[in-house]
């Protein structure tokens, strides 16, 4: 989305009623466009006044405060416990973090702009946490309990310094179906639908499926069970609806974090 498109959609965005696709595009755009960011902040400030325009009601029950505190504690405790469990179980999440940090760092270097680096740094902690959580959930849901499985991982990068980052993981099991997991972030809705494919050294390509929706951070988690087997398939490509490569990378054994292909 360009500046004109963003300005057109900004009032609805500020009022909280923009379509999801617009929301993601605007959030992405305002991180790199100072003028649109200022406009967004101005409109959001204007809109915030409406939050206090509702006629006051009587106070909430006194117990609500304790329930709020408990709810925050529960959420914090749940996340901490989940992290701890994941780390004990496979150690894969640490690797995923390394991949994600590397991918996000690469994005900042490509952008080569102080402003983008500052913004990227501010977002990294949150993105890392959110994507790490999703990665952990995906790995857990993959019933990853096969000690004989080979795990390959790698980060995905954009080919032309465009916004976007990702990571991928395959689990190649001698005793059950193989699995592919792909995490992406920072992509605009205009690239949808995305096709995820993986290629082996002989050039044989497997189309794993499509990503049709992105969250507000331009991200998605893609998982696929592959009955035909993923042994030898290491080159991951994510293409937009025109067939253009949006993200790509090469997987390697989990002991090393692979570099992205150019």
């Amino acid at each position: 989305m360009n500046c004109a498109g963003v300005r057109d959609a900004l009032p609805a965005f500020a009022l909280g009623v923009a379509p999801g696709s617009d929301t993601a595009s605007i959030e992405l755009h305002v991180e790199t466009c100072a003028a649109c960011r200022r406009e967004t902040i101005d409109l959001q400030r204007a809109v915030a006044a409406f939050g206090y325009a509702l006629a006051p009601v009587g106070p909430a029950v006194p117990e609500l405060e304790d329930r709020v505190v408990s709810a925050v504690h529960a959420a914090a405790g749940h996340r901490n416990r989940r992290r701890s469990t994941r780390h004990r179980r496979t150690g894969l999440t640490l690797l995923a973090a390394a991949i994600l940090i590397a991918a996000l760092g690469t994005g900042a270097v490509f952008a080569n702009r102080a402003e983008r680096q500052r913004l990227q740094a501010a977002r990294t902690a949150l993105q890392e946490d959110e994507m790490l959580h999703r990665f952990g959930e995906a790995v857990s849901s993959a019933q990853f309990a096969d000690p004989g499985a080979d795990v390959l991982t790698g980060m995905l990068a954009t080919p032309n310094s465009q916004p976007g980052a990702g990571s991928a993981l395959t689990i190649v099991s001698p005793s059950s179906d193989d699995q592919a997991i792909v995490l992406i972030s920072d992509l605009p809705d205009r690239v949808l639908p995305l096709t995820v494919s993986i290629t082996n050294a002989k050039g044989r390509s497997l189309e794993l499926g499509e990503i049709r929706r992105l969250d507000s951070g331009g991200g998605a988690t893609f998982t696929r069970i592959v009955q035909g087997g993923l042994n030898g398939f290491v080159d991951v490509q994510i293409r937009d609806h025109h067939g253009r490569v949006v993200l790509r990378g090469t997987l390697a054994a989990e002991t090393a974090v692979a570099s992205p292909t150019p």
Binding site: V17, A46, F50, G51, A60, V68, R123
Partner: protein, 173 residues
């Protein structure tokens, strides 16, 4: 915010003391029941904790940030629960404040809200009511009213610019 990030009791309670009431009010006025308002209030503070690392004071005030979270969650619920009867919208200028004590921050915010409402024409007020308070999109309004989408967007922008001007130089930290 660091305290909130750490899940510190004092920080959570301080945030609740300042914003609990307007968030709860939003829940009652938009969603219509005490139960829904209490759920919304809990959800808002949990979401604030989750997003605390993202809060940047250079990009906006804490009250704007928190009320935006509250509003987005309320609108999500409004749009998800179609067919539920919602309460009549009652704005602050239609109902005098009761004698109960209200802190100064809240009074200042309400002043800004009153200025915002007063700056709008009746038609603009209705438009804001349908979007901000009822969660209708510009496209839905366009289809309901049989007017071009671009016209709705233009009117929304004009209304927000009026509100912005009404509160210009009135910002406080």
């Amino acid at each position: 915010m660091e305290g909130l990030l750490a899940g510190d009791d004092t920080a959570i309670r301080a945030l609740y003391a300042r914003f609990g009431r307007p968030v709860y009010t939003m829940g009652i006025r938009l969603l219509g029941s005490r139960e829904a308002a209490e759920e919304l209030t809990q959800d808002v503070f949990v979401m604030a904790w989750r997003k605390a690392a993202r809060f940047d004071p250079h990009r906006g005030r804490l009250s704007t940030w928190l009320m935006t979270i509250a509003h987005n969650l309320a609108v999500d619920r409004l749009r998800r629960e179609t067919g539920v009867t919602r309460p009549k919208l009652v704005l602050v200028d239609e109902m005098p404040e009761s004698a109960q004590s209200v802190d100064e921050d809240l009074l200042l915010e309400r002043d800004a809200a009153l200025r915002a409402i007063a700056s709008l024409s009746d038609a603009e007020r209705r438009l804001i009511a349908r979007t901000y308070f009822r969660g209708m999109t510009a496209r839905e309004i366009s289809e309901d009213d049989g007017i071009p989408l671009g016209t709705v967007k233009t009117r929304l922008r004009a209304a927000l610019i009026k509100v912005r001007k009404a509160n210009e130089h009135k910002e406080y930290l």
